[in-house]
């Protein structure tokens, strides 16, 4: 019988290798078809009109003039007169036509008028938001070493006493830090191409949730979920924003029904940024006290931010981030702004929490004149995830790769080359990454062909390649012998890709399905080889008696014994139900940044970045490294470049085009060094998700490096040249 457990470290044939991704060439030559690329015959194009004001009441909306434009086939208002619009860009109408030109002209003809209402978009100004009545408490939590102190006034006194003690003996820092709202900026915008056949809908949807979106079309369209097929072979970015059919997906389906033709409705870039996903901001005021070794004794903070119209801040549970000192008080306040609701953004809450709290830990190092590395090291006993030893090992590796000890200088005390100073910073992170539930169908055909089906998706992780590797490992076949089918809601249900759950989930179901299928095959083959099924193994394209190449059949011969009927087996993993040795939960991760800062221009340049990451058992080392490179680059973007900028008067999102929304380019990212940390202790844990963790620490690590270079804290991210210069000027 084939063993379900993963092979021992170092004995796997395929796992841990670096095969190219199996759909790589399709992606690199334009053959891969994304939702935006699906162009059924007779397809019509649709575009939406966004509301021009951040908060208003509609006084007129008339789409009929659009219908006079040649080439416009349909138009509809999405809101009625009297309706209140709560953010700029909220979709108010849509036009369908034969060409992009006709649709654009039609949009222009729509009559739309409104009464402006009061707008609030400033999420950094807590006092202003309070005055405008835009705040709401979002939870607080207090923890004191002395548990007998329970009354609020006594707790106040105790925090004061603890801070005074630190002031005497160690250091106290009163800091203000922040990180602005950013968008998901999926390069393929949200949208769909919908086509009907009678009463059956096929929705080609740009989604990270293939198995979970059919019902989201069916319910509002009042049809059965069985009559909906959601299809997505390739998705051009999601990052947590593409779990839903979205209101405009449903509208697209309705318009396809109404016109009797397939309709494509993808959001324009600006509407994409205004509607389809942002990450909440985070701002904090903190008093942090440490002893003279730099071990933090007390943390007392108040933080706020916005998730748009929902008005929530970064969750208080992750403040301070990873570390949890013996005395800690935190309070969180949400600000309700005229902006679309935030969506899950890669590692929800964590990057902001890291960016606004681990900078305070670094400021302790600055205040005491201690090496930041030592401050992080000495605080490891307080980490919340029991991974102090993993962090310690990863810190040592990272320090070596960065040459930290040699390059380190106290904050602001490094050598300057003209106006340019350099500095080092670090940060650490954590994430869960337990696999999602997943079901697959594995088929072994009598001619030896193998295929697997599941309603999963490839967000860019390389889902197809991971699945092929797991099945190939299990069946003793090469990776290219496995045909992988994902991307249809008609396939067995597999979880949405969110929270670093996919690689674990699809590995679970496919390892299980392929093992069961193999055992059925071994039972067929055993009599032929005069052996018991449990004595057989599948290796290198053969079914043979264990360790005996002479006594076996080729894979093809073995499958020939199936006669006419393929083997078909379901692999099933249910999160929280299925007992498993194949996967686990929880990672650490250490990152270090080296930057150069020009004191005259305020420009920060990335020199080098080191990321050391554990993820349990690694399926494909090349794809794993890519995830980390990419995450680091996204983190550099949030540290130095990107933010949403809003006009306080009209509530307009001012930089909602790529020309104005700054992102790093290829030349902006410096040298990135990735180290996959996989000692046997990690390998034996099984698969743990990787997508989120490496995107968490970069902003904090880079902010700390900038502070180390300048000796001055740039409190708010992204650290644009202006913010850098302002911080320098303020410190003078």
């Amino acid at each position: 019988m084939a063993d379900m457990n993963w092979p021992k470290q170092g004995t796997a044939a395929v796992l841990g290798a670096t095969p190219d991704r199996i759909d790589g060439i399709a992606k690199a030559t334009g053959a891969a078809k994304y939702t935006y690329d699906i162009t059924p015959d007779k397809m019509l194009l649709a575009r939406a009109l966004g509301c021009p004001h951040g908060h208003c009441q509609i006084t007129a909306i008339d789409v009929s003039p659009a219908l006079q434009v040649p080439g416009v086939v349909a138009a509809r208002a999405l809101k009625n007169v009297g309706a209140q619009v709560n953010w700029e860009g909220d979709l108010v109408a849509v036009v369908v036509g034969e060409t992009e030109g006709a649709v654009a002209e039609g949009l222009k003809e729509i009559k739309f008028a409104f009464n402006p209402l009061d707008v609030w978009v400033d999420d950094s100004d807590l006092a202003g938001a309070e005055k405008a009545g835009r705040t709401q408490g979002a939870g607080d939590n207090t923890k004191l070493d002395n548990k007998d102190i329970k009354k609020p006034e006594e707790q106040d006194a105790e925090f004061k006493r603890l801070l005074d003690e630190c002031k005497k003996d160690g250091a106290v820092v009163e800091g203000e830090y922040g990180i602005h709202v950013i968008t998901h900026m999926c390069l393929e915008p949200h949208g769909s191409t919908c086509e009907w056949e009678g009463d059956k809908l096929t929705a080609h949807l740009s989604t990270q949730n293939v198995s979970g979106t059919a019902g989201q079309f069916a319910t509002p369209l009042q049809i059965a979920a069985t009559d909906v097929t959601v299809h997505c072979d390739y998705v051009g970015g999601g990052f947590g924003s593409k779990f839903g059919a979205d209101s405009w997906g449903v509208v697209c389906a309705q318009l396809a029904k109404e016109t009797g033709r397939p309709v494509k409705l993808m959001l324009d870039r600006d509407l994409e940024l205004k509607n389809a996903g942002t990450r909440p901001s985070g701002f904090i005021q903190v008093k942090i006290g440490a002893n003279k070794e730099g071990v933090v004794q007390v943390w007392d903070s108040k933080h706020w931010g916005t998730s748009g119209i929902q008005g929530g801040p970064v969750t208080q549970g992750v403040i301070p981030y990873v570390f949890d000192p013996p005395n800690r008080r935190r309070k969180s306040i949400g600000i309700n702004t005229n902006a679309a609701g935030a969506r899950a953004w890669r590692a929800p809450n964590h990057p902001q929490a890291c960016a606004i709290t681990q900078v305070a830990y670094d400021d302790i190092a600055r205040a005491l004149g201690i090496d930041s590395y030592d401050v992080f090291l000495r605080n490891l006993p307080t980490v919340t995830n029991n991974k102090a030893e993993v962090y310690k090992a990863e810190m040592e590796i990272a320090a070596k790769l960065m040459d930290w000890r040699k390059k380190w200088h106290p904050h602001g005390k490094g050598p300057a080359k003209g106006s340019v100073v350099t500095g080092l910073g670090m940060a650490i992170h954590t994430w869960g990454g337990a696999p999602h539930s997943s079901t697959c169908t594995v088929k072994i055909h009598p001619d030896g062909a193998v295929e697997t089906f599941l309603g999963s998706q490839d967000l860019g992780t390389g889902t197809r390649t991971v699945i092929a590797m797991v099945v190939a490992e299990t069946l003793g076949l090469p990776v290219d012998a496995i045909s992988v089918n994902i991307g249809s809601s008609k396939y067995p249900t597999s979880g949405s890709s969110g929270g670093s759950t996919t690689v674990g989930g699809v590995s679970e179901s496919n390892r299980r399905g392929a093992t069961d299928a193999l055992n059925l095959l071994l039972a067929k083959v055993a009599p032929k080889l005069d052996a018991q099924p449990e004595d057989l193994e599948a290796v290198k394209g053969r079914i043979q008696v264990k360790g005996n190449t002479a006594k076996g059949l080729s894979w093809k011969e073995a499958c020939g014994l199936l006669g006419m009927t393929p083997i078909e087996v379901q692999g099933n993993f249910q999160r929280g139900v299925t007992q498993t040795n194949l996967s686990s939960n929880g990672v650490a991760g250490v990152q270090m940044a080296e930057v150069a800062v020009d004191r005259e221009t305020g420009v920060v340049k990335m020199l080098k970045f080191v990321a050391v990451q554990d993820m349990g058992l690694i399926i494909n080392r090349k794809l794993a490294a890519s995830q980390i490179y990419g995450a680091v680059i996204m983190g550099i973007a949030a540290a130095l470049y990107e933010e949403r900028i809003m006009d306080p008067t009209t509530g307009k999102f001012l930089n909602a085009e790529l020309a104005d929304y700054k992102l790093p380019r290829l030349g902006d990212t410096g040298q990135i060094v990735v180290e996959l940390y996989e000692p046997e202790s990690e390998y034996n844990r099984g698969v743990v998700g990787l997508g989120e963790p490496p995107v968490i620490a970069p902003p904090a690590a880079i902010a700390n490096a900038v502070c180390n270079a300048l000796g001055v804290r740039v409190g708010t991210l992204p650290m644009t040249p202006k913010r850098v210069l302002d911080a320098i000027a303020k410190a003078k």
């Binding site: 030559t29 030109g101 490179y629």
Partner: protein, 205 residues
């Protein structure tokens, strides 16, 4: 409060609107300055010429008849009429580089070119680098895993092809300097650099 009335597009004009024949959804009416208004007025006086005409585009070595209006972009023509969807619409101003194609050998953004301007020119799309034996650039992208979601990748592949055609011996520093016209949200830049370096050194083993 007085109604803010406006007919979309009667209030602003920019390159993007010109290209798409669109008025930006209710552009900043209330904020318009006198010169802006004058410019908008001038823009309004222009008639949309929507007459269709059939032209021949030479794409990937073959002549193709397409029906275009003056405002039809090259991107719209190749994607919807020739079904060559490798070049991607990411932002109408071309700053993402995702719609990069070669026009007479030069890397250009198909989303900021009018189809009419391309008649008589030789257009090559990313698809011409694929097929049975893919070009060294996409092959190196695969080998170095320079794609994640892959939406930016076709544009990047064409940009790298064009850059290396002009600089076959490019150094890493030159690659870092010369390929800043493309945006990748998934963060494949490090892998793209490796891929380009591999092509310079003679392709993947």
């Amino acid at each position: 409060m007085k109604d803010q009335e406006h007919q979309n597009g009667k209030s602003g004009f920019n390159r993007r609107d010109f290209l798409r024949g669109s008025g930006a959804a209710a552009a900043a009416t209330a904020l318009a300055t006198a010169p802006q208004l004058a410019f908008a007025q001038a823009a309004d006086d222009k008639k949309v010429v929507r007459d269709q005409t059939t032209i021949t585009l030479n794409v990937n070595g073959g002549d193709h008849k397409v029906i275009v209006e003056p405002r039809t972009t090259l991107l719209e023509a190749i994607r919807y009429q020739l079904k060559l969807t490798g070049a991607k619409p990411v932002s109408p101003d071309g700053v993402a580089g995702a719609a990069t194609v070669l026009v007479d050998g030069k890397a250009m953004n198909a989303d900021t070119l009018l189809a009419l301007e391309c008649a008589g020119k030789k257009v090559r799309t990313v698809e011409s680098l694929g097929g049975e034996k893919p070009d060294a650039v996409p092959a190196a992208f695969v080998h170095n895993d320079a794609q994640q979601c892959g939406f930016c990748t076709p544009g990047f592949v064409v940009a790298v092809r064009a850059f290396l055609n002009a600089h076959p011996q490019a150094t890493e520093a030159e690659i870092r300097h010369g390929l800043n016209g493309n945006i990748c949200r998934c963060g494949t830049y490090a892998n793209v650099i490796q891929a380009a370096m591999e092509v310079v050194k003679g392709g993947s083993k």
